[in-house]
Symmetry: C3
């Protein structure tokens, strides 16, 4: 192998690793909603690293093992809620990563003139920071911090956005 | 070429093919809305493989060639509807793939105090499974199964989410 | 280096460049909302190339430097608005690119029975064309054309969708 070939292979492998990491994290984030909205605790737990959990300014840290059996969560699932993320901004740093995105919790809403079934409304709009870790089985969630864009929390959610912009500036 | 170079090139090509496939499928899914919402049958048909069509528990299989001229669809387009997908979970298996995502059909909603134009409401919220096939011209839709998160269909939509989680577990 | 190795490296580098470009543009678009919704003019300006600005059929061209201090924009941020894009269709052509996506501006909406905080409604639904340029610092926005799916603008928004479909057909 010539030095030039070696250098090009090294560069390709590093750059492709980063692209693959980002796509794998997008796929992990896309699995959050269906696991949560079907109240499927085993599927939900597979998204998390050991010791993982939700974090919010209102409820503090909640171990992920307890989220699916939460009374409000079960009510949401019974009614047909949907947890839907926006496209994320992802920043990878070796074996850890952060991913920021908007988040909506939809619940049933009024029927419109177009369909015979009910529509949906956004019951909760939040900005989210996911802390992720690379495990032998792939990327997993470690911490998921969700701050509502509503009432008193709005300024904290916007502070999280400022933090996301700073992460973006270093990218 | 040394054996080592050969092995590294082989691995890079396989891994990059998967990343490119995922990005190409994301782009295909992002073309669904604009084709549908402008009632552009030729553009819509370009997204599909031969024999492709929509599948729903309510209407059964509808060939894609008939979707754009559907009376309800034309009414939606006249009023300015938008078919908007969430980030998908994609799983590729050789020359076929599945992509799962949430789906919203927006229709005009009440005006707010912020803008002089009307806002929008979600008239239909669904969970979707796209079956895709690799063709000589690139990835195309083969079947698109959409189940509303509403009323009686909610449990079936959640069952599709359980299926998505199982596909994720094998990823 | 053999001719075969050379050819495979060349092909890998070109294909990986395209994948990396698409992921970088997705990340740039994901930074638009948090910069805008926190009224963070420095962060917002970092997303733009020199001379960049918003374009709309109603307001014409607005230099990006003026957007964050706009009175309506500051009111939106004070109330906790969110600018949320859908997954984009991206087409790269050398050092320029276009990215098309749906766009929603959320504002506070009615409280539901599920949460103690207010929900959100879509005050503005639009289809967007981003013109991007590759700079030494990475991809940046040059022009962002936003047309509401509402009232008189609906047909123009749908015309932008037809254009997106045509870009997709050439992809």
């Amino acid at each position: 192998m010539t030095d030039d070939t070696q250098a090009r292979l090294d560069r390709l492998e590093a750059q492709l690793q980063r692209a693959t990491d980002e796509l794998d994290i997008i796929k992990l984030l896309a699995r959050y909603g269906p696991a949560a909205d079907s109240a499927d605790q085993p599927a939900y737990s597979r998204l998390w690293a050991d010791g993982g959990g939700l974090n919010s300014p209102v409820h503090g840290l909640i171990p992920q093992e307890r989220v699916m059996s939460d009374e409000l969560h079960l009510k949401l699932c019974e009614d047909g809620a949907a947890h839907v993320p926006s496209i994320p901004f992802i920043r990878i740093d070796g074996d850890t990563a952060v991913a920021y995105h908007y988040h909506r919790v939809y619940v049933p809403g009024p029927e419109t003139k177009y369909f015979s079934t009910k529509g949906a409304v956004v019951a909760r709009l939040a900005y989210i920071r996911n802390d992720l870790v690379r495990t032998p089985a792939g990327w997993r969630l470690q911490r998921r911090t969700s701050i509502a864009l509503a009432g008193d929390q709005t300024k904290d959610a916007q502070q999280l956005m400022v933090e996301a912009s700073e992460a973006g500036a270093r990218d």
